[in-house]
């Protein structure tokens, strides 16, 4: 079956511009996670959606970052007024249930802010 997909795969933008990153989770997965990974670093948790509950936004680094998950499926991560330090690979993952279940990752979006 289809896995987690993300688009675009690569995004180059200029400092100060807004960007939107999209994640299509596996159908039926109730939990969706966004992480980012800077070069040679581990994964930094950003935000977590679980069903219809309020998202856990505790990992968002600033108010320039926001995310939505419409209809319990597709999610969009928006970064406003991008900065060079936002350059990273943004990874989306979904899991069937919450509670530390196996996560299925998308291929990521590589964001480069010039």
């Amino acid at each position: 079956g289809a896995g987690v997909s993300q688009s675009p795969s690569n995004k180059v933008t200029e400092k100060g511009k807004d960007v939107e990153l999209r994640c299509d989770p596996i159908s039926g997965h109730t939990a969706l996670y966004w992480y980012r990974q800077s070069l040679g670093q581990g994964l930094e948790f950003l935000i977590y959606f679980q069903g219809n509950s309020a998202p856990d936004k505790s990992g968002l680094p600033s108010d320039r970052f926001s995310a939505e998950r419409t209809g319990g499926s597709v999610s969009t991560l928006t970064i406003q007024r991008t900065q060079q330090e936002d350059s990273a690979v943004y990874l989306c993952a979904s899991s069937l249930l919450a509670g530390g279940n196996e996560q299925f990752f998308g291929p990521g979006t590589r964001l480069t802010v010039l």
Binding site: Y35, G42, Y48, G99, Q103
Partner: protein, 112 residues
Amino acid sequence: SQQGEEDPQALSIQEGENATMNCSYKTSINNLQWYRQNSGRGLVHLILIRSNEREKHSGRLRVTLDTSKKSSSLLITASRAADTASYFCATPTSGGSYIPTFGRGTSLIVHP
């Protein structure tokens, strides 16, 4: 803050040798997972071990968990060049929110 940390940061071995990576974590967990990442893109789940388990096997992979030491190890036996990748452990964040958090990973290079 990061819950788990992998050790060593980098590991270079010859094909056929065994590779051992370790993960230490800070607070009590209900499970621990190991993932593999190729070329800095999406991660692939390898194995999940629950807190009441001490050892688990999957093919050439062997994972141990010592909750008293708050540590886990991943052993890859008879390594192959295709095992070259970064390996991460994931543990739930403290406070029971069950959001898996990742360490910086171990970069494994297997030379043919």
